[in-house]
Amino acid sequence: MQLIKNNSMTWRYFKQGLFFTCVRASALVITLALGGIIFYILYNGLSVINWDFITKPPTDAMTKGGIMPAILGTIYLTLGAIAIGLPLGIASAIYLTEYAKEGRVVRFIKVGINCLAGVPSVVFGLFGLGFFVIFLKFGSSILAGSLTLGFLILPTIIGASEEALKSVPQTFREASLSLGVSKWQTIFRIVLPNALPGILTGSILGIGRAAGETAPIMFTAAAFFTAKLPSSMFDEVMALPYHIYVLATAGTNIEATRPIQYGTVLVLVAVVLGIDLIAIVIRGYMRKNKRW
């Protein structure tokens, strides 16, 4: 009797151990993959990183010099995408969660948003080319690129905002409305401030993606090479992802620019992480006295 019991216990511990090992191994593989990529980029790119690399424009047919115009261009495009995607996305989410009644219209809109999320980024690029660049005559410009990226990140922002708005307790809305405060004021003063940390957290993903995308900007905003910095939002810009693409596939001397390519990748990763960091800091600041 004693023996059987012990055996079954051993078996159970074994199963448990096996399960934990699998879970740990999964986590480890992901960490290793991430670590591997970062190490590889650092190993190959770190040698070219210096002050001149990030503050000087490219020289000698892009085989020497820095990548400052591309860094600036990516920052402009990302900020532009945020400026367009965030208000539009939050407004859509407010409509969907606070105003719209469940029904055919809402279902149709939600299906539309999900479809938008599934559209390949190159299609956004072609749409941007056809609509913003040609039809609206914005030309290849920061404005056209920002609009295209803004639409690209819209589904992510709407999704994150919807979740964040729904997570604000219904009792807050009731309390505010019961005081004779209007619905709009309730949303603006109570619901939105409490949802904002969540909205930002979710939007970080979309914003990071926007900064790293090549396809949507190659037809709408990115220049192969321009030494002059943009003076208005109707100017073309260089951008990091497109610059990497150009150096690696169409540059004047692909082999010679290898280190610059990796350096540019490193800077792109740093810029994306930098954007995330800003959002995280803002979120942390907003969360401090917003606990419930």
Binding site: K101, E102, P169, T171, F172, R173, E174, A175, S176, L177, S178, L179, G180, V181, S182, Q185, R189, I190, N194, N289, K290, R291, W292
Partner: protein
């Protein structure tokens, strides 16, 4: 002399196809405490939320009949529900302060609706004193309301409602989430408040209804079974069902 501040005339209420209230006709007396009692699901909370149009927030609800507040039908098409809620405040079952400072919890409503804007500090103090919370919080007005105890939070919610200077205060089981000491404080407070306000309170606690109310209405499955002076209801009810409920034979 008693005067009726809210009058219900043959009110029916539906959640979708389900009728939750049937032909309710009753009047609420000014500056009295009226208790609504009855077993769960009898419609007393639904009735309470009808009085300041909080049921508007739920999709697929429908009201029939008249609810007159100061002789004006609050469900008339030209009446703004926002205006009604300024005059008829509400305290909820669970304390629900905003995640703001104590001060801002109180000033929130008046500020957004433009009441007492010229002397907000005085209004905040007056409201907190009325809710017998001032002495406990006067030194921490800029601290988050979320740090207060449950009982303090509920008195804060009462103060927040009072800051709007309503005529009527609706209370939906305001002490059911509180300990006996906090409950006693709120009951004392209600006693105090009825001088200036008409109070309508839903409660599951028979002793509470008997202690604090002047009038008591007993509801059962969406019907108003009996409505009378509290002493009469609790000592010599006319209807057998009321007696059974009060003495704990069912519900």
């Amino acid at each position: 002399m008693d005067s009726d501040i809210i009058k219900l005339n043959k009110v029916n209420f539906y959640y979708g196809p389900t009728r939750a209230l049937t032909d309710i006709t009753m009047n609420f007396v000014k500056n009295k405490v009226t208790a609504l009692i009855g077993p769960s699901g009898c419609g007393k909370s639904t009735l309470l939320r009808l009085l300041n149009r909080m049921n508007d927030l739920i999709d697929g609800t429908r009201v029939e009949g008249e609810i007159l507040f100061e002789d004006k039908n609050i469900y008339a098409s030209d009446v703004d529900s926002v205006e009604i809620r300024r005059k008829i405040g509400m305290v909820f079952q669970k304390p629900n302060p905003f995640p703001k400072t104590i001060y801002n919890n109180i000033s929130y409503g008046p500020k957004l609706t433009g009441i007492g804007a010229d002397n907000m500090d005085a209004l905040v103090e007056r409201s907190l004193r009325q809710a017998v919370l001032w002495d406990e919080v006067k030194d921490i007005l800029n601290k988050s309301a979320m740090n207060l105890s449950g009982g303090q939070q509920q008195r804060l919610c009462i103060a927040r409602a009072l800051a709007m200077k309503p005529d009527v205060l609706l209370m939906d089981e305001p002490t059911s989430a509180l300990d006996p000491i906090s409950t006693a404080k709120i009951e004392e407070l209600i006693e105090e408040l009825k001088k200036d306000y008409t109070i309508i309170i839903v409660t599951h606690n028979m002793q509470q209804a008997a202690r604090i109310s002047d009038e008591t209405a007993f509801f059962y499955i969406g019907n108003l079974v009996e409505y009378n002076k509290t002493e009469k209801i609790f000592t010599n009810p006319d209807v057998k069902q009321t007696e059974d409920y009060i003495t704990g034979r069912f519900g």
